[in-house]
């Protein structure tokens, strides 16, 4: 029979430190909760940041290991200063539209940090185990280290690839064999972890642990590589929850409440968030990970026999100027063309002519949730003008003209009436219910879901071909000349 012996030396400092960790955990929880409501979100972010500051400060002040306080304090403060300066400037300077990339990088840093900690703790633990003679195969600290290393490594490598893809530095690879390679890597990772667990203490040669590190990095790359660039927000969210789990492993290792709770909170809420994101796009997580959809959407290939109506710039200008109510539906193309400022200009111009201009925002328009909000905010469009999808649809019948700028899937009627369509069931903005529709895009090309859009052939619809930016420029000029 074994005895589990937990000895804790009481000092006031340790107690205060533990208190600070619990308080930090509570702040994380409250912060996360507030982050998920629009009115309190910004404030919630500050709560969480306060918890973090508390935990960091008290760790430096009061942490003890075997009666020894934290040393190397100048170095630590130096590192904190460098990290703060770089992180702050990078986060402040980055363009609004490049924020997902930024999140991906920061996420990767966290993963790398977790992996480094594990890499450093492993040899130490092996030594002490060699001395004490480990008895159980299922050794908690070893397990935490190995998991932290693996998951942190995968998260780091994956985040870097996700960053590259979002920044369009890395293209998409579409090859189904990668799927099998990934399964193989995953299996190897598991086998390696089991071997190390069984063999431990592994003794002087820590080769296995380096092998594990390498494998984790390789797997991280090959996991993200085949996923389409447009799905990166979902992948980042997933990797985010991975890093959370890696951080929690550290918490388990050090028996540190703040790390444990903080990490697990992010792990679980991040996973749910990933699923919610997929749901908003009417897809499953598996579908996102295993590969892009749409390649098999052949059912709607009968578009050839339909006619597409074009509208001239001057006709469009007249139509808009003499409308009472105009709804702008922005999409991914607006972001690509960087035409948000021109869009706002059009809005101001029309408003000055007595036209009521609103924006209809689909929740997954663009390539990340909230993409359109970010984009239009950058152009100083007042929030009051942005209608959510349901509001927009409610007002549709009274709307004279809907201008669809670089959007496609989010105004596709197939989501409503074509059960064979991959986007069937996704709520969309029902532009076709308005009196007139103008669609601005460069060609008849498909959108993200790679399916035909019957709206373009709708009798009410008028195409205005060309790059969104130049078309808008010309349109604004036309209206001014009227």
């Amino acid at each position: 029979m074994e005895t589990i012996n937990l000895l804790i030396q009481y000092t006031p400092e340790i107690s205060i430190l533990e208190m600070s960790y619990i308080l930090a955990s509570v702040l994380f929880i409250v912060g996360l909760k507030r982050l998920s409501h629009p009115d309190t979100a910004r404030n919630g972010n500050l709560w969480a940041a306060a918890g973090m500051g508390l935990a960091i400060l008290f760790t430096i002040l009061f942490h003890k290991k075997d009666e020894e306080s934290i040393g190397n304090i100048p170095w630590i403060i130096g590192a904190l200063a460098i990290g703060t300066a770089v992180g702050w400037v990078a986060a402040r300077k980055v363009k609004m539209t490049a924020m997902p990339q930024m999140v991906s990088i920061f996420n990767g840093m966290g993963g790398a940090c977790a992996a480094l900690i594990s890499l450093m703790e492993f040899p130490k633990l092996q030594e002490s185990l060699a001395v004490s003679g480990a008895s159980s195969m299922l050794h908690g600290e070893t397990l935490a280290i190995l998991f932290g290393l693996t998951i942190g490594g995968v998260s780091f490598a994956g985040s870097m690839i996700a960053f590259g893809k979002l920044d369009e530095k890395i293209g998409d690879i579409k090859a189904s064999w990668i799927r099998y390679l990934n399964l193989f890597f995953l299996l190897m990772l598991v086998v390696l972890v089991v071997i190390i667990m069984f063999k431990h203490p592994v003794g002087g040669d820590n080769i296995l642990i380096y092998l594990l590190t390498l494998l984790a990095l390789v797997y991280g790359v090959s996991f993200v590589m085949p996923i389409g660039g447009a799905d990166m927000p979902v992948v980042i969210s997933l990797l985010n929850s991975f890093t959370g789990i890696a951080a929690a492993c550290g918490g388990f290792l050090y028996n540190n409440q703040a790390m444990l709770t903080g990490g697990i909170l992010v792990g679980s809420s991040g996973t749910l968030l990933t699923i919610l994101m997929c749901k908003a796009m009417n897809r499953s997580l598996l579908n996102v990970i295993i590969g892009a959809f749409g390649g098999d959407a052949s059912a709607n290939a009968e578009a050839g026999d339909k006619t597409v109506k074009e509208i001239t710039l001057s006709d469009a200008a007249v139509l808009l100027s003499y409308s009472q109510k105009v709804l702008i539906v922005p999409g991914y193309g607006l972001a690509v063309a960087q035409a948000q400022h021109l869009c706002h200009e059009l809005d101001v111009l029309l408003t000055s002519k007595g036209v009521e201009v609103k924006y209809g925002i689909h929740p997954v328009a663009g390539r990340m949730p909230g993409h359109m909000n970010v984009l239009l905010a950058e152009a100083d469009v007042p929030y009051e003008k942005l209608l959510e999808m349901e509001e927009a649809n409610n007002e549709m019948q009274n709307t004279d003209v809907v201008i669809v700028i670089g959007a496609n899937d989010v105004v596709n009627p197939a989501a409503e009436d074509d059960a064979s369509s991959p986007i069937y069931g996704m709520p969309v903005i029902k532009a076709w219910e308005a009196k007139n529709v103008i669609v601005m895009k460069r060609s008849m090309a498909k959108g993200y879901a790679a399916i035909e859009n019957k709206l373009f052939y709708h009798p009410k619809n008028n195409m205005l071909f060309g790059d969104a930016k130049s078309t808008l420029q010309k349109l604004v000029a036309e209206i001014k000349n009227l």
Binding site: F28, L32, L35, S36, H37, P38, D39, A41, R42, N45, L46, A48, M52, A55, I56, T59, I60, H63, K65, G71, W75, I76, A79, G87, R92, M99, V103, I105, F106, N107, M109, C113, A114, L116, S136, G140, N240, S241, G244, A247, G250, G251, F252, L253, Y254, A258, T261, I264, S269, L272, L273, L276, M277, A280, P363, P369, G370, V374, Y383, E384
Partner: protein, 103 residues
């Protein structure tokens, strides 16, 4: 089997805290509107930067040069995650301020 039971008993409190936190993470964000998905992801991203505490602890007890270098690196990376994460989130959420005045 015995190993598993011993492991469980030894870490039962941590395991239970993990379970509770799991539930809490899910419950707390389960009603998030889709427009907050990205800021929430970014905020959560900053929170897992709590791993920096581990980095500080390793660094604080580092003796040899290699550990010093790795520890230093780890602290920098962790800080990047924390500071960058919170600041980016704040910037994203700045835009929701106006919305508030609407209500």
């Amino acid at each position: 089997m015995n190993d598993v039971l011993l492991f469980f008993l030894q870490y039962r409190e941590a395991i239970f805290i993990i379970i509770l936190s799991l539930f809490l993470g899910i419950e707390v964000i389960s009603h998030v509107p889709s427009v907050l998905h990205t800021p929430l992801m970014s905020g959560a991203n900053a929170i897992h930067g709590v791993v920096i505490i581990g980095a500080i602890i390793v660094m604080g007890h580092a003796q040899d040069v290699l550990s010093m270098i790795l520890g230093f690196l780890a602290v920098i990376l962790g800080t990047l995650n924390v500071v960058g994460g919170f600041v980016v989130t704040d910037r994203m959420l700045e835009m929701f301020r106006k919305k508030k005045s609407k209500n």
